[in-house]
């Protein structure tokens, strides 16, 4: 495991960059636990002050220190993404494994359900949902709802992997030795499926964060909890751009970019390392 990380670090520039970005993200998240300012309190510092040594990212029109507020935002956005990814992994694995292993009518039924979900344009539906649930909406509920829509693509991937595994000799051996289908799925097939799951997890987090930002900006989320999206919402509400309070917009934008790029670079560099076909292609050097 450490050897993998060491190799990646030494030879893949993307991994180094990803490590740099993600370290910054982690630092911010950790800092949120020692923040001197409470994100729920407003007007605690002078408003609309540009970045300075005392307030690294300046202050906003609500009298809050932008930097410390962003640490909370980073924390909430990231964890929401993780929740989405975790829950949707579970659903994707369940769906993919059962469809792949059982086959027959269950497979076809699950696959048409999956395809339907893949086609649906999510944003209008989510806006509808957000609109109706705005009173009780918060980041965690949003994460959960996103998970309900985020599994189809990955379920498909898992299913095709299981289909190839089903025909392999070790599956037959397990069947003949009397192992029940459930345990075959869990004990024999899951280890093969995990790499796919890991690869798609990061993708899922990115996807979830994207939606969170969009929905929050529209005001369809819990606007009292800091997140990258709500930061932009409040900035828009107070006309930050027009009023010249550019740092209030720049900070969440920067945070989003760092988080997104960090995760993405991690994804591609690890993927290239693991996937044998990419390795073969890179070997030509």
């Amino acid at each position: 495991m450490f050897k993998v990380i060491r190799d990646l670090f030494r030879y893949d520039g993307r991994f180094r960059l990803a490590a740099f970005f993600l370290t910054a993200v982690t630092v911010m998240i950790i800092l949120s636990y020692v923040s001197p300012y409470d994100p729920d309190k407003s007007f605690v510092v002078a408003m609309d002050m540009p970045p300075s040594p005392e307030h690294i990212f300046g202050t906003d029109s609500r009298g809050q220190d932008v930097f410390w507020w962003m640490t909370f935002a980073m924390r909430n956005s990231f964890f929401m993404g993780v929740i989405t990814a975790a829950v949707s992994r579970v659903i994707a694995i369940l769906m993919g494994l059962s469809a792949g292993y059982r086959g027959g009518w269950l497979d076809r039924f699950l696959m048409s359900v999956t395809d339907t979900f893949v086609v649906l344009p999510l944003l209008p539906i989510l806006i509808l949902l957000g609109f109706l649930l705005r009173d009780i909406m918060n980041q965690f509920l949003l994460g959960f709802i996103l998970a309900l829509f985020g599994w189809p693509y990955d379920a498909r991937l898992i299913r095709s992997q299981v289909l190839t595994l089903r025909e392999r000799a070790f599956t037959r051996t397990a069947v003949y030795s009397g192992t029940g289908p459930f345990w075959i799925t869990i004990r024999e097939h899951l280890p093969f499926v995990m790499p796919i799951v890991l690869a798609t997890t990061i993708n899922n987090i990115l996807w979830a964060i994207g939606f969170e930002v969009t929905l929050s900006i529209l005001g369809l989320s819990d606007l009292t909890r800091p997140s990258i999206g709500t930061a932009l919402y409040w900035a828009n509400q107070h006309g930050a751009l027009v009023a010249g309070v550019w740092w209030w917009i720049a900070a969440p934008t920067l945070a989003a970019i760092v988080l997104a790029l960090g995760l993405y670079l991690l994804l591609t560099s690890v993927n290239d390392y693991i996937d044998p076909r990419t390795r073969l292609r890179l070997i030509g050097g």
Partner: protein
């Protein structure tokens, strides 16, 4: 021919109907999940905004809302009534612009969204695939590597963030492009060259953002597809036979690589659509996205619902069309 229809056309058509059916049913069910009585909440919200409506109007609005929400009669009756209205093209009145019908407002906004969507999708798909294939065929080319890095760097960034950055940079600090809208206030849309130029200027940034984000995705997909295709027998054979590089790239590599990408294009329509909506919101483009924003601010429930329904049908239909076009390109599907 019959086998083709049975094996290919029929399942896809059934899928199309299923998607629409499921999507619309979901849209139907969702308001019933709301913990509050939507009609009462809606009416009180509208009254609270200070619109001076006489009791008659309030009554008719309440009736329209109940009808719209489909809350009259038993759930099953509601469901059928819902479908009935839908099939007649009646999406109800817009609550923000009472009593303008939702379908009319969507109809006005649609051309803007479509033009943005179609242009951006085509451009990003064509160029993304082209450059992706080239970068795989000529791996040492520095220029292509730069393109790859740029495409990759932009890809994971959420639509809104990128749009914001482009807006600030190119409309604020370096005022090349106009700030918002599709045309300045006071100008009427017309089919003239002048208007067309104004339109292009205004729509450039949102389209460019969509293209940038989409480009990276197609680039990477095509690059890995192509590198697999390059090692396929028929490409090696063509090379051994001495075919010109350009011929191989065009007829052998791209022809085969574009097929899965066509399928991918169909699958990506839902996502691109969402992206286009966001673009419109950021750039104030008078398409469906802006319609959505206004609807959210004004609590125009019927508009939001109408947009949701419209989107589902629209995207599903676009996908069906793509499915129907695909056999024209892949003879393996045509001749079973």
């Amino acid at each position: 021919m019959r086998r083709f229809i049975l094996n290919y056309l029929l399942p896809r058509f059934v899928q199309y109907l299923t998607v629409i059916f499921v999507g619309i049913t979901v849209t139907f069910i969702i308001p019933r999940l709301s913990p509050t009585d939507p009609v009462a909440a809606q009416v009180s919200m509208m009254l609270a905004r200070g619109s001076a409506l006489d009791p008659q109007a309030v009554q008719s609005m309440r009736a329209a809302l109940t009808d719209l929400y489909g809350l009259s009669g038993s759930p099953l009756q509601q469901y059928f009534a819902f479908w009935g209205r839908l099939l007649r093209g009646d999406l109800g009145p817009s609550l923000g612009n009472f009593p303008t019908p939702v379908s009319q407002m969507i109809g006005q906004a649609m051309p803007y969204t479509l033009s943005l969507l179609i242009t951006a999708t085509l451009v990003s798909w064509i160029f993304g695939n082209l450059f992706g294939a080239l970068s795989s065929y000529y791996p040492k080319n520095k220029g292509l590597k730069v393109v790859e890095i740029l495409g990759q760097a932009v890809r994971p960034i959420p639509y809104y963030i990128l749009a914001l950055v482009l807006l600030v940079v190119f409309a604020f600090y370096i005022p090349i492009f106009p700030f918002s809208g599709a045309y300045p206030i006071g100008i009427h849309p017309s089919l003239s060259l002048d208007f067309a130029w104004i339109y292009v200027q205004h729509s450039f940034l949102p389209a460019a953002t969509l293209v940038l984000i989409g480009f990276g995705g197609w680039f990477i997909g095509m690059k890995s597809l192509t590198s697999n295709i390059i090692s396929e027998d028929y490409v090696v054979y063509a090379e051994t036979a001495g075919l010109k590089e350009r011929k191989i790239l065009g007829n052998y590599v791209m022809r085969n690589g574009l097929l899965p990408q066509l399928t991918g294009l169909a699958m990506s329509l839902g996502t691109v659509f969402s992206g286009a909506l966001i673009m419109e919101i950021v750039f104030g483009f008078p398409g469906i996205g802006s319609l959505t924003l206004v609807a959210v601010y004004r609590n125009d429930y019927s508009m939001i619902m109408g947009i949701a329904i419209y989107s589902i049908i629209g995207v599903a239909t676009a996908m069906l069309i793509m499915d129907l076009i695909y056999p024209l390109f892949d003879p393996r599907v045509r001749y079973q």
